[in-house]
Amino acid sequence: MSHSASNLEAANTEAVNTDATNTDATIERRQLVIIGSGPAGFTAALYAARANLDVLLLRGAEPGGQLTSTPEIENYPGFPESLTGFDLMARMESQAERFGAELRYGTVTGLDLTQRPYRLSVDDDTTIKSDAIILSTGASARYLGLDNERRLLGRGVSACATCDGAFFRDVEVAVVGGGDTAMEEALFLTRFATRVVVIHRRDELRASKILQERAFAHPKIEFLWNRQVRDILGEDKVEALQLEDTRTGVTATLETGGVFIAIGHRPNTDLVRETLDLDAHGYLVTEPGSTHTGKPGIFACGDVQDPIYRQAVTAAGSGAMAALDAERWLAEQPETASAKTELVAA
């Protein structure tokens, strides 16, 4: 148990223990908890703090979110000179903190939405009860799903060029995918690799025009069209890929020192898969024109509910919407008015 939880417990020694499942833990009571710390989460925290809500943000397993892997952000308005994803997220974080949002390390491991206030289990063994929750858990890289891909992860297989790219100096690498992420990864990898081969299952890219043009113009980048990765070969590290031509079915081997998977993202909905509505692709469903999920007081913003745009600026925009929706909803709940940072033992 953390020191802060021990202090809370000490402050509540007279409280009656009525919950057999939480005999040791002290339950913290909040008005609004935000889960996730990408642009959506931090913007929601900023707006909620400025609305004078009692807001706690739990950063999750990857503070700053996917954007922290982006070496250069050129399309976030207000930053004409571009900046790194890490810098942008650090700025959002300090802005939320400046207005009084409480930001905490911790990953939510369980979410009980069967009773109100809702209950969050955190990986530091604390439990939090909250009237409202904003889900901004984002998305994670999607993998091909091959056995050898899993086995060779970290040994030449990666889904993050900025994390691992510099370990591929002076070797040939491959990038799988045809969207913006694939082009960004390929362009970044040209700093280190001798050659970057982009493998795409179609004969045209989904990536934005500006990134396509940059990739096509780069002397180190080559394209293999209409190819699917059937297997990743290598004993202790990646040595080659087995590729299938999607038109002819013919397979061929491509030698490579590394392979970067950039075939899209999977929304992080493990916490709510059983309790909230998801669409056919696993994204959280919100009511049209709002961030309300089907459950009262539960809001969703950012990539976890956005299968279409998935931009830093749209995530931030939906974070603002979620905070405004939560503020309005909380104002309509008379019993929550006195809940502000009230602490009760379980």
């Binding site: 397993a61 700053g64 922290t68 892997s69 990953t107």
Partner: protein
């Protein structure tokens, strides 16, 4: 006071290194940072503790090495000192 028993082996560009340092900063833990690209000996140390891989961040705490621990693990390790 500088505590040399906690060392973060990092590179300038690695996101998990930024995250690990931000966590240590938030907990007011002193540490030494070594850029393994600027210090070849440090790269060798990192590789020798990670099956030959240059894994970053690698954290050395009181002589024990941890290759890219999760923030939860790092927080627990620091709290347990």
């Amino acid at each position: 006071m500088t505590d040399n028993s906690l060392t973060v082996y990092s590179t300038t560009w690695c996101p998990d290194c930024h995250r690990a340092k931000a966590l240590l900063d938030s907990k007011k833990v002193d540490y030494r940072e070594v850029d393994i690209e600027a210090t070849p000996e440090a790269a060798d140390i990192v590789a020798s503790h990670n099956d030959g891989k240059h894994r970053v961040p690698t954290i050395e705490i009181d002589g024990r090495f941890f290759g890219n621990p999760s923030l939860k693990e790092l927080g627990d390790l620091v709290a347990a000192r």
